[in-house]
């Protein structure tokens, strides 16, 4: 990604209260970037879904939240990393309703819809990295 990073922070995700901290950190930066209330809500909701997946499916990990700039556009980039079991079939995981954990299977596909860019890197046995950007 050719974006310049203006600022970045890392939150460790080890418990459900860390998911709350992750949401709050993303909210603070989304406000700083002057995203509209609807856009803030979308980004924070996506962050909440992805942070929970990191915790519940990835066995914990971390989130980087970065203010990025690409030419004249600024945006918020969220990166979630874990060293859990990985995702065997990414296409299947993204489809609404697919879950291996008794959820609704909406988190991954839903957060992709809520963000502008969405990228999953995963290797079975090695972990998962998800990068999502919302541009202003």
């Amino acid at each position: 990604m050719a974006a310049t990073v203006l600022k970045t922070e890392t939150i460790h995700i080890k418990s459900s209260s860390d998911v709350v901290t992750a949401r709050q950190q993303v909210r603070t930066l989304a406000i700083e970037l002057k995203f509209s209330l609807v856009d803030q809500t979308k980004i924070v909701t996506a962050a909440s879904e992805l942070a929970r997946n990191t915790l519940d499916h990835g066995g914990g990990g971390e989130m980087d939240v970065a203010v990025v700039e690409n030419g004249i556009r600024r945006g918020l980039r969220l990166t979630f990393r874990d060293h859990g079991p990985g995702i065997a079939d990414i296409k299947q995981a993204l489809s609404d309703g697919f879950t291996t954990g008794g959820g609704m299977g909406l988190g991954l596909g839903g957060s992709k819809r809520l963000m502008n860019e969405f990228d999953i890197h995963s290797q079975p046995g090695a972990g998962t990295t998800i990068t999502a950007v919302r541009w202003k």
């Binding site: 949401r23 596909g109 819809r113």
Partner: protein, 133 residues
Amino acid sequence: MDRIPILRMGNFLLVTIQVDMHDRLALTLQDDLTNRISEVGARGVLIDISSLEIVDSFIGRTLANIASMARVLDAQTVVVGMQPAVAITLVELGMSLPGIRTALNVESGMEYLQETAEAGMEIGVYGGDSTED
């Protein structure tokens, strides 16, 4: 451990969610509400989410679970005060909150609960009459 308070008003239970709930807190609320409904024989549950800045799939599922457990215990649930930005985001997330009755504010939510409780009682009275005949 912290808990979200549940207020009782006659036959109804009222909950105002004022904090950014972590998942365990949401599950505790689900359990506490289910217990209180059966303890007091509540006929309705009103959940005010006007301070909630997001509703994600977990909170949505928790609200749906509360509503269906309440229904099994013969109580209606109404969720009130969802912020417009939250509603827009929920739709894009793909959650339709199935089986959840919503209202714009506490007043109209209470009206709904009162009406359904009264309607329920009338059915009960007529049922009683017809068996005596």
